[in-house]
């Protein structure tokens, strides 16, 4: 069977002879015979590439909801943005794709400089001086931000807005079982985090708020900052990077840490991964920064050079004293984001933000013209997502819309757990979050509106 190993039979024989061995099995003599696999693994035999391609194509075809087949109005943390051929071509270069972590800077200046450029871009978007080289995804970034904030404040109690993406909150709560952090979820009122419900709590060291929420609503960051000043707490803002280009930055609003999901910066929908965790913080927090950090320096001849720095923070040096265990991250997605942002430029990124906000507002206006369809939060300004309530169950609506050629959004019944503080329980079953990126057209919106009118009749 063909594979990717170069050895000829003669070479294998020669190599064994060089080792004074007679059979390849002798290489495994240190492994007790009683433990060894007998008769091979119970798996299909290997197959040539064209056969495997045909099988994987069959699986791909079975994904009838792919954005290549349905017009995508789903958002809520993952967005269908333009990723042009030039970005795909550059990000797909083998030198980037097949490199390892830049442990030898002399032969890794390409990745290191690209990461340095990425760090600069995220630092500017978030309005904070320090950005790391990426974490796994938005959920991981919020988790690490909480870890940093607890270590910094030395207080276990964390106020977590339910405007933060529901599954990310689940991840934060899972990992809090190990760290012992006390995660207190704070509900929303008119789309804003309602801190009045938890005003009696003391010992709060961390406050986490979104900008925007997964429902598209915008929070009052000035109020969150004032609360943190009063409590002596660390402010973590979970910020959408596209919106960040046109809104006052988290840093400008007083965030100590800003985190987010960077998928919208050049990564395809990818069924949820690999995505890109963004993480930025103030200079005061740099010694607690999780993950890798690239810094500029000079080589022996005085040439500008880049290198991973402040390494003493990382797990391989601090071991059990580390506050983060991150090793591999999502560097390729970070480099992709740098390329995508380079393609968009100042004007293009703002344009994507403005169009996404503008088109989602247009979508909301058109959709609510349908009889029985209303906004979940009437009169509340929303940015790139908007939640609507229809006469039928959200999951049923999406099934029916798929039959009309649309991925109509994300049903809150699937995304949130029952009793979630972010949504009115009486409306949750019928609520759907929708989004229109800069890729959606007026004709597509008209088609969706007609389809909703048809399937909810």
């Amino acid at each position: 069977m063909p594979d990717y190993m170069p050895h000829t039979d003669l070479e294998v024989e020669a190599m064994l002879a060089f080792l004074d061995l007679e059979s390849i099995d002798q290489l495994f003599d240190a492994i007790p015979k009683a433990l060894q696999v007998v008769g091979g693994l119970a798996m299909a035999e290997g197959a040539p590439e064209p056969d495997v391609t045909a099988e994987m194509e069959r699986l791909a075809r079975a994904n009838t909801g792919a954005a290549s087949r349905l017009v995508c109005f789903a958002g809520a943390g993952a967005y269908d943005h333009e990723v042009p051929p030039v970005v795909r071509a550059l990000a797909g270069r083998g030198e980037f794709v097949t490199a390892y972590t830049p442990y030898q800077p002399e032969v890794a200046q390409g990745m290191l400089q690209a990461i340095f450029e990425f760090q600069t871009l995220i630092s500017r978007l978030y309005g904070l001086p320090i950005s790391n080289a990426s974490l796994y995804d938005g959920a991981a970034s919020v988790t690490e931000a909480v870890n940093l904030a607890v270590a910094s404040s030395k207080r276990q109690r964390v106020l977590l807005s339910t405007g933060v993406h529901p599954t990310w909150r689940s991840v934060v709560k899972t990992f809090a079982k190990g760290t012992g952090h006390d995660i207190v979820e704070v509900g929303l009122s008119d789309g804003r985090t309602d801190f009045t419900a938890v005003s009696g709590l003391d010992d709060v060291g961390t406050v986490v708020v979104p900008q925007s929420s997964y429902l598209g609503t915008l929070d009052d960051l000035a109020a969150a900052r004032a609360l943190c000043d009063q409590l002596g707490a660390v402010l973590v803002v979970v910020a959408d990077p596209i919106l960040a280009s046109v809104l006052k930055s988290p840093g400008a609003m007083g965030a100590d840490v800003a985190v987010g999901e960077g998928q919208a910066l050049g990564t395809s929908l990818s069924f949820g991964g690999p995505y890109l965790g963004l993480f930025a913080c103030t200079a005061a927090q740099v010694r607690r920064l999780p993950g890798r950090l690239v810094g500029e320096t000079l080589d022996e001849e005085g040439r500008r050079a880049y290198v991973t720095t402040l390494r003493a923070r990382e797990q391989d040096i601090r071991r059990e004293k580390a506050t983060s265990n991150v090793c591999s991250n999502q560097t390729l997605m970070a480099v992709t984001a740098a390329i995508q942002l380079g393609w968009l430029g100042t004007q293009g990124l703002a344009e994507v933000a403005i169009r996404s906000i503008s088109s989602t507002r247009y979508l909301a206006e058109q959709v609510t013209d349908v009889e029985g369809v209303e906004l979940l939060l009437p009169g509340v300004a929303t940015a790139r997502d908007v939640a609507v309530v229809t006469p039928i169950a959200g999951d049923e609506l999406l099934e029916r819309l798929a039959g009309e050629g649309f991925l109509g959004g994300v049903a809150l019944s699937a995304l949130t757990e029952e009793g979630d503080g972010s949504v009115d329980p009486s409306l949750r079953e019928r609520a759907v979050v929708m989004s229109a990126t800069e890729r959606r057209t007026a004709a597509e919106v008209a088609g969706l509106v007609a389809a909703i009118a048809k399937v909810t009749r």
């Binding site: 492994i31 194509e57 954005a67 030198e95 600069t120 959920a139 069924f271 059990e320």
Partner: protein, 503 residues
């Protein structure tokens, strides 16, 4: 010394050129220049001031950079030429398994039916993805001898943390609060860091003169306060822990679980399975063993497979085959909860399944055989100047020591590593494991040819001779790379993490 051209070797250093620095994107920026082109939508664009409260809006958009598409392509192409990669040449970096990444896997991962799927798409419309994940889970369980797996963790370290939370959940369900995890002194740094983040205290177990876990020390550390042990087998010295059956029995006897760090799984594919050795929880690094590309430090994927007794605690929701033959989601009865924002690094998972399908069970065993054969051939071939720390058959990687060379010439392991860059090979891992003096850890992987290994050995011999005759030459290396040795102390002392921090 031959000058026969070999795959890898000096030829591989040729594209790494450019003695002048590449300007940054920001230095190339010219106001008013642009590259982007967006779709014609027909939707009126309204000013933000009409859409959002004015107090939220920035005075002007964030400044990115303004370059042409042509300049963008040239910039990142030049950066790519300053980057070593598996595509370019041999990357014998121990413990990282830098094997060839088949192009097929990238092509599959780019198929629109996989890459363009929104993660919250309803179940009926993602049957292909769910089937793919169920099939991958089954394959990984067969390879590891486990009962079920989660595909959610994004990397090995995320897998470790997940696995340790599973360990804690298992004990807690038994009404058992245990505080300690045992970790050998040769372990990867992520192990103790993950243990600490899951609330455990770490007890370090020493290595004996064989390079293996000191069984007596282990027994002395075991009591009912021990939640479990984290082991890599083969260990980081590239040696198989021969006493694994005894270790497993001893840990299980006090009610502890065995955690397998799958970083070195490549050595034993189809030969021996962690489940059969007695392990209860294992994470795999798909970006090592199953050839998904490393991407310059990620994305990886770190699925966690478990034995029957831990199955109920796995993260959810989990892809599953339903009674009617279709696919859906299920959450295990006593799940620890989600460990990923969505379903894991899905496109990495698709690559790994593709790789597994091409190889099959027979091919995976051949992977382990050739990986171990290559490591042992290299071990013996370079032994004259670089003796193995433990002189016997190794697994997929070999740790050699530069102690004698350093004593005789003043040339250290790091100097050999830097000099090797001039010869067109990526450096081995140096100074790890921490317990071996002047360690150089080589992992050639199964995809390098005998000719490439010979070229690597010749380069190493040449460096050793040069160290004796002209040590200054070695100490000055690398001289042919885009930059020479960099001032790491300066980078830390005078932190410049962004363009805007430059003084």
């Amino acid at each position: 010394m031959t000058n026969r051209p070999a795959p890898g070797g000096r030829a591989a250093s040729a594209p790494l050129i450019g003695r002048d620095r590449e300007p940054t994107l920001f230095e190339m920026s010219v106001p008013g220049r642009s590259a982007f082109q967006l779709r014609t939508t027909g939707i009126p664009v309204r000013p933000l001031s009409e859409l959002l409260p004015s107090e939220l809006l920035a005075a002007s958009p964030t400044e990115i950079a303004e370059v042409s598409e042509r300049d963008l392509v040239a910039h990142f192409t030049r950066l790519s030429h300053r980057q070593f990669s598996v595509d370019l040449g041999a990357y014998p970096l121990g413990s990282c398994t830098m094997k060839y990444n088949p192009k097929l896997c990238d092509t599959i991962a780019a198929m629109p039916g996989l890459a363009d799927v929104h993660p919250a798409t309803p179940t009926s419309m993602i049957q292909g993805w769910l089937e793919l994940m169920v099939e991958l889970e089954a394959a990984l369980c067969e390879v590891t001898g486990m009962a079920a797996a989660t595909l959610q963790p994004s990397a090995g370290a995320a897998g470790e943390l997940t696995g340790l939370l599973l360990m804690a959940a298992y004990h807690e369900a038994n009404g058992d609060r245990r505080r300690r995890v045992l970790i050998p002194d040769s372990a990867h740094g992520t192990n103790p860091a993950s243990a600490a983040l899951s609330g455990y205290e770490v007890t370090t177990i020493p290595t004996d003169e064989r390079g293996l876990v000191d069984l007596e020390a282990l027994r002395a550390s075991l009591d009912t306060d021990v939640a479990g042990i984290m082991l890599t087998n083969p260990n980081t010295a590239g040696l198989f822990e021969e006493d694994i059956a005894e270790i497993a029995a001893a840990v299980h006897e006090v009610g502890g679980l065995l955690y397998y760090d799958g970083a070195n799984l490549n050595a034993i594919l189809g030969v021996v399975r962690p489940g059969d050795m007695g392990f209860d929880i294992i994470h795999m690094n798909l970006h090592k063993t199953f050839a998904t590309p490393h991407g310059g430090g990620g994305p990886g994927a770190g699925p966690v497979a478990v034995s029957q007794r831990v199955v109920d605690f796995l993260p959810g929701p989990k892809p599953t085959r339903l009674a009617d033959g279709t696919f859906g989601w299920m959450t295990p009865a006593r799940s620890i909860g989600r460990v990923h924002g969505w379903h894991g690094n899905s496109l990495v998972l698709a690559r790994a399944l593709t790789y597994i399908k091409v190889h099959g069970g027979d091919g995976l065993r051949r992977v382990a055989e050739r990986a171990v054969l290559n490591a042992n051939w290299l071990r013996r071939r370079i032994a004259e100047h670089y003796p193995a720390a433990h002189d016997r058959i190794c697994m997929h990687e070999v740790v050699v020591t530069g102690t004698a060379l350093k004593r005789a010439t003043g040339v250290k392991a790091i100097d050999v590593a830097k000099r090797l860059l001039e010869e067109g090979f990526h450096s081995p891992t140096v100074y790890f494991p921490l317990i071996i003096d002047e360690a150089l850890m080589f992992e050639p992987t199964e995809t390098e040819s005998l000719q490439t290994l010979e070229a690597l050995a010749e380069a190493l011999d040449k460096i050793a001779l040069e160290a004796h005759e002209h040590p200054d030459e070695v100490l000055a290396a690398p001289r042919t790379t885009p930059v020479r040795r960099v001032d790491e102390a300066r980078a830390a002392r005078n932190l410049v993490p962004t363009e805007d921090a430059r003084g």
